[in-house]
Amino acid sequence: MAQEDPHSAGSEPTGSESTGVSRRTFIKGVIAGGVAVSSAAYLFRNSPLLTGGSARAGTVERLVGLTVNGQTRRVDVAPHETLAQTLRYKLGLTGTKLGCDRAECGACTVLVGDVPRYACSVLTHSVRTERITTIEGLAAPDGTLHPVQQGVVEEQGFQCAYCMSGFVMSAVGFLRKNPNPTREQLAHGVSGNLCRCQDYDKILTALERGAELSREVARG
């Protein structure tokens, strides 16, 4: 990471020129500022991208290769940017919803590795080396729905469905670890997701159907 040079990335890193501060002058600046030289290696560029403010001097790489839904995409990520913001506003993956933005509803759930996490409450830079899967990445390339999605279609589990992608991602992550849950275990598995339309019973029935279809697919 420390060695990564934004200029070797192939594409021109937006904004790095605009500050007029090169990495070299930055390091000098840091020494002059009395901070240990070693700190410089871990600095990330402070981005004006989301705030519209100007970048502070003394910042470095913010260009990361983020692996989302099996594709590695170069994206310019501000240090203070959450994964939900990167997915929705930088990569256009708006299937990931924002409900509370406070780890209290689950609408933003995505898989980091195989693990369901709240995309609203994790910095993108903290998971930049991980495989990320969103609702858009579940279906097969030929359009065949993921068995959990198919279960939702068959049982019509949701009403407004704002909470749906979060529930589906939670269920998919949970089922990878527990392919054969009881209804109660499945409910516990998706307990970090809320539905404002309050139809948990139908949601669970749909997800249970999804679990069943997942097992059928696994059996081949």
Partner: protein
């Protein structure tokens, strides 16, 4: 639904990739950096703009701080081990089941997948006056807004309040205190080991901090000695909803018995004071006693001696009494008790 207008104000992001780099950075930047482990407590402060920071030191890339290892017959748990990994660790479950249980009852699955044990024991209080940015004692002011005649204080302290009535919100802290755990803290080259019971501080000692951690300190691991392995354990958490919610009261105990008599006991209660409370008077009263209805009832009474409820949290007194009784008994009380 809260309006999502929350772009976190900018900060510098520092990502050490090894323990030594992290230690060095934390020491170098002690005046202006904030450590994040899972960030589940920290990010909300920043989103709400009630606290700000120049820089974040993000420990997410420091793999050395993750994992559960055997150590001298006990266990050492890296500070960055997630609550899910603590809850599911065969070693923790087998030897210190109450800690696994407590970790499994924190918040929600997604939060446990990201929140760490080190962060859980170092998290700030949830008093919402304080968290909403009121300039109370804990924030450097000269009032406690949760302890006024019109204050809403259902979640607040019933014991050992001193000006501030906020409580320790952690679910894993009481089991760790009950198990005589030790916190391993690095500051530069120096390592110090602090007993869990001394790690947490109340407002009488320092009204603006929840733990002894000072700027420049990095919590690296939590050690659980073999002292209590094989004892009878109990953990219970009471909360409003069965998911997400912080404890209204939680209890952890470790009890060693022989021939129906209690040899030694640890009983610790959370969310009733600013730090997890080890009930030494209860423990002393239990030592040497037969485990019978009288012993159990007495333990509950001693536990709540001196409790001073506020306007809306009187329910915590019988709740704490009952939980302590259940902890001593090892399960629900019989209907007649």
């Amino acid at each position: 639904m809260a309006t999502v207008r929350d772009v976190i104000p900018p900060f510098q992001l520092l990502q050490p990739s090894s323990l030594e780099e992290a230690v060095e950075l934390v020491a170098d930047r002690r005046d202006d950096a904030w450590i994040i482990a899972g960030g589940m407590d920290s990010l909300d402060w920043l989103k709400d703009r009630t606290k700000r920071t120049e820089a974040i030191i993000d420990l997410s890339q420091v793999d050395e701080l993750r994992g559960v290892r055997e150590l001298d017959g006990g266990l050492e748990i890296g500070a960055m081990t997630t609550l899910t990994d603590v809850a599911e660790s065969p070693l923790v479950r087998e030897r210190f089941g109450l800690l696994a249980e407590a970790a499994s009852l924190v918040a929600s699955p997604q939060i446990r997948h990201q929140g760490t044990l080190g962060g859980n024991v170092s998290q700030d209080t949830r008093c919402w006056y304080y968290r909403s940015g009121w300039t109370c004692y804990r924030a450097g002011g000269n009032t406690c807004y949760a302890d006024t005649p019109s204050a809403i204080n259902r979640e607040h302290a019933i014991l050992h309040a001193s000006r501030c009535v906020a409580v320790s919100p952690s679910d894993t802290a009481p089991p760790l205190v009950a198990l005589d755990a030790q916190m391993v803290i690095r500051r530069g080259e120096r390592e110090r080991v602090v007993e869990a019971a001394d790690y947490f501080v109340g407002p009488d000692l320092d009204i603006m901090r929840m733990t002894v951690l000072e700027p420049g300190d990095l919590l690296t691991a939590i050690r659980i000695p073999s002292t209590w392995s094989g004892a009878r354990f109990y953990f219970e958490k009471v909360r409003d909803r069965e998911v997400w919610d912080f404890p209204l009261v939680n209890v952890a105990s470790a009890i060693r018995e022989s021939g129906g008599r209690i040899e030694d006991a640890r009983v610790v209660v959370g969310a009733v004071a600013a730090r997890p409370l080890r009930l030494t008077a209860v423990e002393q009263g239990l030592a040497g006693q037969l485990l019978n209805a009288q012993t159990i009832a007495r333990a509950g009474e001693v536990a709540v001696e001196g409790a001073r409820p506020l306007r809306y949290n009187g329910y915590k007194v019988p709740l704490m009494r009952n939980l302590v009784q259940r902890a001593v008994r090892g399960g629900p009380l019989p209907a007649s008790a």
